[in-house]
Symmetry: C2
Subunit: 247 residues, 2 copies
DNA sequence: AAGTGGTCTAGACCACCGT
DNA sequence: CGGTGGTCTAGACCACTTT
């Protein structure tokens, strides 16, 4: 348990491989190594930090399990990129009763700015009235409107926010956040409820008023644990399910 | 990439540590080492199998990450046991709007047997009419009835099923399955929908008919991946949320 | 003191990828 | 071919637990 850098207190020093892991994660979080960048090789990192290759390997494997990096034999180690596929498989959990995942398409209904309301401030740990960017979008599954989403972003984190004409990016916001604003969503917390649809929601979803909906209140976190998005989703579960695994 | 045991085909041989992991998992799944049993030490396993301690260690660490075993420095390695705490934290995801988890209490409403219906057969991958054990229970949160659960078990896996008088066991079924029937639930899949309460459900939950409920359709898997329980849960989300993390 | 798992190192060999 | 990550080994030392 040598120390990579001097520490103020003697006890409770972390194992070397955890120090290496934290150090590398810091560099990624800072944006020093943007997504897609190849990391130095194991031996090189080891030489720079004065630790063995085995210790570096252990740190890198931990980061790989957390999906911060991707390693490929013969090629090297790379900072992970959000692909549509990854975003869809990881953060989009709608499936039909047989477990098949649909490919959603999106239609933007509204976009605007305004001060944070109570819910947004509470969920994103922001002061009331913080400037926010808001999007309301409808998502179609197999051509039918089934999902309504209200997305709220702290304007400070997403300056000059505009939606690209590119279809794919509009469909997967997290790819957009990363490529255009350097915000990488790593983790999210969700709270689910069953609600009766408001009249305006029912109208947007082309369903009868009084319809029953699944409401998903999500907060997304970036690499450094900061709250970067709040998303309210209303899902019509007549034909679709919210599907998840507990391990 | 030596081989632990002879294999029929030359190519695609697994790495040694995966073979060791599979072998140890097999012994646990068979019940050769029941929950709580101490495993042999790393060196001992290595000697028995003719591999190095490092390789055994890698296999054990993988099993620990999957929560099949627990390791403690100085003590040893033990087959994991279901504790109430683990079961509650892992498989019970209800919380209040501020994220606080309640401690539920249970009341058995009905218990009986019968042939598997369509849903049970489909979800548990069993033939229609397979003998089933069924329980209907009400769960109270802070003294108020909020959850109704219909539990279905393949009778063959749970012979002589009876509910213990012991309060704690009744409250955490997975602890009961493991201690009394040797069935360890490792993993589950859930499908969530929003529904309007049937009259009888609304009555059991002491709510107005036509109330909105969150329906959770769960299938639980044991150590060897076999489907061992189907559970339909109806949750009143007026005061409570279903809470989860995406990573 | 003896035994366990936890950390760290050093080195060998393999599989894969690019040139 | 040289460079990368992947596997496997052997050994030293540390931290923790039990006897």
């Amino acid at each position: 348990m040598t120390m990579l850098l001097p520490e103020e207190s003697r006890p409770a020093a972390q194992p070397l491989y955890l120090q290496v892991e934290a150090l590398l994660m810091g560099r990624i979080a800072e944006g020093l190594w943007p997504p897609g960048t190849p990391l130095p090789s194991e031996v090189e990192i080891g030489r720079d930090l004065g630790v063995s290759q085995g210790t570096v390997r252990k740190a890198l494997q931990a980061l790989e399990r957390r999906r911060l990096i991707e390693r490929r034999q013969g090629r090297g180690t790379f900072v992970a990129e959000h692909t549509s596929e990854r975003a869809l498989f990881h953060f989009f959990r709608v499936a039909d009763p047989w477990g098949r995942k649909p490919v959603p398409t999106s239609r933007l209904l509204r976009m605007g700015t305004g001060p944070a309301n109570n819910d947004e401030a509470r969920r994103l740990h922001l002061p009331l009235e913080t400037p926010m960017m808001r999007l309301l979008r409808l998502r179609l599954l197999e051509g039918r409107p089934c999902i309504l989403e209200q997305i709220s972003l702290p304007a400070a984190l997403f300056p000059h926010f505009t939606l690209p004409l590119d279809r794919e990016l509009t469909d997967e916001m997290y790819v957009l956040y990363q490529r255009r604003h350097g915000v990488t969503v790593m983790r999210a917390e969700e709270e689910l409820r069953a609600i009766a649809a408001d009249a305006w929601i029912a109208e947007a979803l082309a369903g009868a008023a009084g319809q029953v909906l699944l409401e998903i209140d999500r907060v997304a976190f970036d690499v450094s644990g900061q709250r970067v998005e709040r998303r309210l989703t209303w899902l019509d579960t007549t034909d679709w399910r919210y599907r998840l695994e507990l391990e």
